[in-house]
Symmetry: C2
Subunit: 342 residues, 2 copies
Amino acid sequence: MKEADIITLAHGHGGRAMNDLIKNIFLPAFGHKELAKMGDAALLEIPQASLAVSTDSFVVNPLFFPGGDIGKLAVAGTVNDLAVSGATPLYLTAGFIMEEGCPLTTVAKIARSMAREALEAGIAIVAGDTKVVERGKGDGVFINTTGVGSLGFGPVVGYEKIQPGDSILINGDMGLHGMAVLSRRHGIELESGITSDCASLNGLIRQVLAGCREEVKFMRDPTRGGAAAALTEIAAASGLDILLDERLLPIPAEVKGYCDFLGLDPLYLANEGKVLLVIDPAAREKALRTLRSHPLGTDSCEIGQVKEKSLPKGEGRVLLKTLYGGTREIADDGGLQLPRIC
Amino acid sequence: MKEADIITLAHGHGGRAMNDLIKNIFLPAFGHKELAKMGDAALLEIPQASLAVSTDSFVVNPLFFPGGDIGKLAVAGTVNDLAVSGATPLYLTAGFIMEEGCPLTTVAKIARSMAREALEAGIAIVAGDTKVVERGKGDGVFINTTGVGSLGFGPVVGYEKIQPGDSILINGDMGLHGMAVLSRRHGIELESGITSDCASLNGLIRQVLAGCREEVKFMRDPTRGGAAAALTEIAAASGLDILLDERLLPIPAEVKGYCDFLGLDPLYLANEGKVLLVIDPAAREKALRTLRSHPLGTDSCEIGQVKEKSLPKGEGRVLLKTLYGGTREIADDGGLQLPRIC
């Protein structure tokens, strides 16, 4: 590959090569007027004075996987963090740490993917930064995205609203992102063509909040560490137990089979297009109807309920009622199995 | 070093090890109530509905250098990008990409340094993220910071305000950050103890804007690529020439000597506590008095002026009137000399 076609240290130095990279690849892809000014900060308007801000770095390996790539993931991941907080995502910043030798075509493909996903999610990429590290001091491309959202729309959800009896919903199949990344990493062909669920959920969430404004108590996207990590956090913070019913978990047979084979638990597999909703049980059917009417929620279902804490001492726990009628606890440290999933 | 004392892949997995890292190191250091909630997004108030947003990734090598470290740099760098845009820095996010094997003491030292600088600058660290990459896929610690500021205070500066005759000021000695990092990287002891100028400039800038609200046309912090990169950007964007006077450049003798020795040009050395101000010449003395009355501006001086464009075709250029009376052009691509300076 020619020098002109790869990332070189010169692309990281604040001079002409860096400016060319930004002008040839990033500006055409992202195209926001504040970005094009290449100022020190983007100057923005926001309808309300209450903000949500979220940051996430992405180090997924491989950069491209069935159903997505690091660029799509970097946009959708931060959009979703804002959306589950009850905010409307408005603005996104993008920071790139690129390894010397990375092909420019790879960088351009990632930038276009980010632009597509940002358009899909209705969020503007308004500020950016590029850095280059020497060969062997990075790994292709790392991306940080930071999102700013407005809290004008919808309720502010919170742990304190969660009560025993609340219903836990999810908008479809679990474990798809983790599965897709793992399969590509290990060179395994999936017969059924399972792909990452990576998607921006702000549209889906806006729809369910519009119908069930008061009844949605809490939302979280079960990404790194999977549903297990997200639910153990909810249990710990709310001081309540969560009882999952294994018969209700929407885990595709192929994900189950592959997990059995590798000794993994699908509850710890990352999702990148899923939201867990804690909802007043009276609104369960209405919320499920609303979720199912959206393309990203057609397979929405209930997977469990919030319960009074079963151990008087200690934090709330996540318990799984198994297919065989037993109950086992889901701990929060089973995620060890999957490095660099997002 | 024991397993418990270094970053392991488990710290990146979204489970207990990651939560312990956050609770033991980052939360005690940063301590904002929104951060402590460990939600998906920080929920914030902002006095005005006009925002400035800026993002920057830091990959400086070495992590610790005379006068600062990557943590101080990561806070001051983004604070300064907001401040030179005319914004009051309010909120900061911090994203860490850590290499497996990095000592926890290093991470903790960096976190404390960030906390100190954030306190100094009056900015709150409100959201964060931690990722871990395998040994040899990163380099110690990379940090992204993204800042949100309010545009309620001071004017919005802009290229379009710059006119021939405007004065170019700087708040003190040039080249100190680049020099300090290079000396540490190459194991050179500097006799005079030159240290990085790394500092948050929002206090200094607030002070000069309070006195010269209308007269400050434009500001930029001459970081990566040095004054040369910052001034060539200003010349290109304003369509005007900038004439620097070499006799006026505040470059310490030791920086000059070291640059001569290594074949570097001090105009390309990074600064991390300097601001270039383009100012109406009528306000020059007043601005200099105000700058000099602040601890970070005691050595403020004028270094050149804006001129009509000398080449009718093409962009504005930066010209240097040398000590010997000649004039040479400063190009924007001499920054190639210094990788990973910030």
